[in-house]
Symmetry: C2
Subunit: 135 residues, 2 copies
Amino acid sequence: MSSYSPGETAEKSGFSIDTLRYYEKIGLLPGIARNASGRRVFSDGDLQWLGMLRCLRETGMPIAEMLRYSELARGGDETVRERLALLQDHDQRVEEQIARLREQQAQIQWKIRLYSGEICGEPAAAGAVGEGLPA
Amino acid sequence: MSSYSPGETAEKSGFSIDTLRYYEKIGLLPGIARNASGRRVFSDGDLQWLGMLRCLRETGMPIAEMLRYSELARGGDETVRERLALLQDHDQRVEEQIARLREQQAQIQWKIRLYSGEICGEPAAAGAVGEGLPA
DNA sequence: ATTTCACCTGGAGTGCGCTCCAGGTCAACG
DNA sequence: CGTTGACCTGGAGCGCACTCCAGGTGAAAT
């Protein structure tokens, strides 16, 4: 087992068939094989690459940058340093993203505590969960 | 000090003036005051509310849901339970988001280690940082 | 043999969240 | 008094990342 139809690939990769076609069209999936009747045939390697794309995409990397990465990947071993740098930058951004989310989550949880009345026992509290909204 | 021009508000809130207008237009900023000549005047409360919106927005809440939240907030104290539920749901999603990011970051870091040669000492490793990309 | 089915193509359309624009108003400054 | 500058409005436009569509093909099932 090492080659997959578009349908299988969509299922396994989590991308829709349309997205797979789109990715191939813009150059994110270079060298996808075709069978005799012109249909795409995906390999295990393709699936692995799709996994990487998925990971980058879901961590917020824009397509333009994934494109750069995939061009580098096509470029062979001389581009390893650049690829490394790109990934390290991205890793950094993911780190910051997580940190920001944590702070914002804290703010939301503070609000939740406020709403659920776990904070301060003043009678006013029930009626004045200040939203900063005018009456 | 408790009232701000659109410009100041944009600066303090981090939203552009255009976005502030847009938010008012769609109902996310109900009851923004106007001065004699029709210009918007923002209060401290408005700024606080904008802070909340910012937090929700940046944690990935879609505008439609923020809209629901702000309608609830306008609805007074009877909606506190619903608002609480909404925020708890969102908090949950943020939690999951962070968890997913962590996993994906781990994958990226694994790749980084691979690229930086910290993994396995085989000579082949240098030339075969398998991308799953065909030659 | 014909119907079904998964797939193909190029290109148009969609949804979201803004962002920009033209044309106008008003208060303040020199 | 003229000009700046910040703001106003309604509505059009944009960038991103898909997603959908019409019309067609080729292999397989009935």
